[in-house]
């Protein structure tokens, strides 16, 4: 099954109520543009292959 293209409006419509964020119509275009940029950034990050053992940078110390 092919992946659907990323739909920023769908993410906003789903996530904003979950987060109790009020998205006014005039905010939407810029939020969409930022989400699309973020998706490109995430793709760049995923291009770097990491070992299963790779730890995240912040390590909690008790």
């Amino acid at each position: 099954m092919a992946y659907k293209p990323f739909d920023a409006d769908a993410l906003i419509d789903a996530a904003a109520p979950l987060l109790q964020l009020r998205i006014e119509p005039e905010f939407r275009a810029a939020i969409k543009a930022n989400l699309k940029t973020a998706s490109k950034m995430a793709a760049l990050v995923e291009q770097v292959k990491l070992e299963d053992e790779a730890e995240a940078a912040p390590v909690f110390r008790a």
């Binding site: 987060l19 905010f27 810029a30 940029t37 990050v45 770097v48 990491l50 070992e51 995240a56």
Partner: protein, 472 residues
């Protein structure tokens, strides 16, 4: 006055010159403070550097210094030196606005930020708080609430941000030392655009306690100055462990100012290629520095583009988490440019951020290996010279992209892993605006950054003059 020495009351006087003149009794700290306050009153309307002027406090602090001098007591290594701080540093009895409208509703700070206290204890005289991009999420130096800070070398151009007021205040000769913060480049970008020296120390070196945060895992504080000696002196005096900053690393103080003149021929210096090559204008400025240092090695920083992307995602998500309640309650009171990036950041999938944090550690390992072969790496601080205020897009590597998010493309992959950097100002012959070069070293080697910066300054390759229009 000694012939050839700068008048300690002038805009061009360095911190070192002022402190010497005050300590020797040649000039009163009060006169120095009054001169700085007069310059601020005269020039700040054009520069937009200061948002708060702490005149009464400054005069009281100056009188204290003068009293010590009169009584034969040590007034401190920065005796009577005026300084100012980005308005995300707490200043006792001043509201820490952090460039925002929303935080103005908070009560005034009950105490100074740790770094303000340290400079104060060294005899420096705080004269006020400086303009900045809202909540530090900015590379332009523009501010929707306070107006833009303006580049002293060309008032219709950006200072760079988010420590824009810090850049304007130092390049405009209002103060010899200013403090800023750098999460993704907010010290190095304004240093580049305003033609001054800036130091982003190693992550965890200086206390951030009692400053308003942005991205705790990436936030750094540091100084700006017009000479490398002043930069190193301010940095040295701000070192020291402070348990109030949970990210600070416990290290002994490692002073740099007495080592600035150590010869550097033993240092191996490389020039970053690939991702950091930049357009012709950035390349030209790096080349000047590389030639002066005889830096013929080429260094490839691996995965730099992915590192920048990871810093971008962590910033969006962590910034959104910080501001979530404010985004819910008062979205209209944000600068729209800040708000819409933070709102998007609140919606990022958690796995993206976790992958970014994993990359951070893996990338750190790879980059630290490079320092087995070199002691310092040179890279442009910004991809271009200061754009015009209000400019929304520019060409980056042949592609038109938003200015605001992309001025930090060369700074982000470096601060992402907390490496120390001195931004040094380079002016090409006949050019009206400078462009900065990053001198990058291994963690905890600020001394290497500063020694190289000092060598470049001594050789006349880098300089940070007060802008001509503000010399009086």
């Amino acid at each position: 006055m000694t012939t050839g020495m700068t008048d300690p009351l002038s805009a061009s006087a360095t911190a070192t010159e002022i402190a010497e003149a005050v300590k020797s009794g040649q000039v009163k700290a009060r006169s120095v403070a009054e001169a700085a306050l007069a310059r601020i009153e005269k020039h700040n309307p054009a520069l937009g550097a200061f948002t708060d002027v702490t005149a009464a406090r400054a005069l009281d602090a100056a009188d204290l210094v003068d009293g010590k001098v009169a009584n034969g007591l040590d007034p401190g290594p920065l005796a009577g030196v005026p300084f100012a701080v980005k308005n995300l540093y707490d200043i006792k009895d001043v509201v820490t606005r952090a460039g925002s409208k929303i935080n103005r509703d908070r009560p005034p700070a009950h105490a100074d930020a740790t770094l303000v206290s340290k400079l104060d204890a060294a005899g420096a005289v705080l004269v006020g708080a400086l303009n900045m991009g809202e909540y530090a999420y900015d590379f332009t130096g523009e501010n929707a609430h306070d107006g833009p800070s303006r580049n002293p070398h060309a008032l219709d151009h950006m200072t760079g941000g988010s420590s824009g007021g810090s850049g304007a205040a130092v390049a405009g000769g209002l103060v010899p030392i200013a403090l800023g913060s750098d999460t993704n480049g907010s010290i190095r970008v304004p240093a580049s655009f305003c033609g001054i020296f800036g130091l982003k120390p190693t992550y965890g070196r200086l206390s951030r306690a009692h400053s308003f945060p942005f991205v705790g895992s990436l936030d750094h504080l540091g100084p700006f100055a017009r000479t490398t000696r002043d930069l190193a002196l301010a940095y040295d005096l701000m070192q020291g462990f402070d348990e109030a900053d949970p990210a600070q690393t416990k290290r002994v103080n490692e002073p740099t100012v007495n080592r600035l003149s150590y010869p550097i021929p033993g240092l191996r210096i490389g020039v970053a290629d690939g991702y950091f090559a930049g357009d012709a204008v950035a390349q030209a400025h790096v080349k000047v520095v590389a030639q002066a240092l005889d830096a013929s090695r080429v260094v490839t920083i691996p995965d730099a583009q992915a590192a920048r992307a990871a810093a971008f995602l962590i910033t969006m998500a962590e910034g959104a988490a910080l501001h979530l309640d404010r985004l819910r309650a008062r979205p209209e009171d944000f600068d729209p440019d800040t708000r819409d990036r933070l709102l998007a950041g609140a919606m990022l999938p958690a796995v993206w951020v976790e992958r970014a944090q994993k990359l951070r550690r893996a990338y750190r390992e790879k980059v630290l290996h490079l320092f087995e072969e070199v002691d310092a790496i040179l890279a442009p601080a910004t991809p271009m010279k200061a754009p015009k205020i209000g400019q929304k897009t520019a060409m980056f590597g042949g592609v038109e992209l938003p200015v605001r998010a992309n001025l930090g493309i060369f700074t982000q992959p470096i601060s992402f892993i907390g490496l120390p950097v001195a931004a040094v100002p380079v002016w090409l012959p006949g050019e009206d605006l400078p462009l900065g070069v990053q001198v990058i070293a291994a963690p905890w080697r600020e001394d290497v950054c500063l020694r190289i910066a000092h060598q470049l300054e001594t050789a006349g390759v880098c300089k940070a003059p007060v802008a001509k229009a503000f010399l009086d």
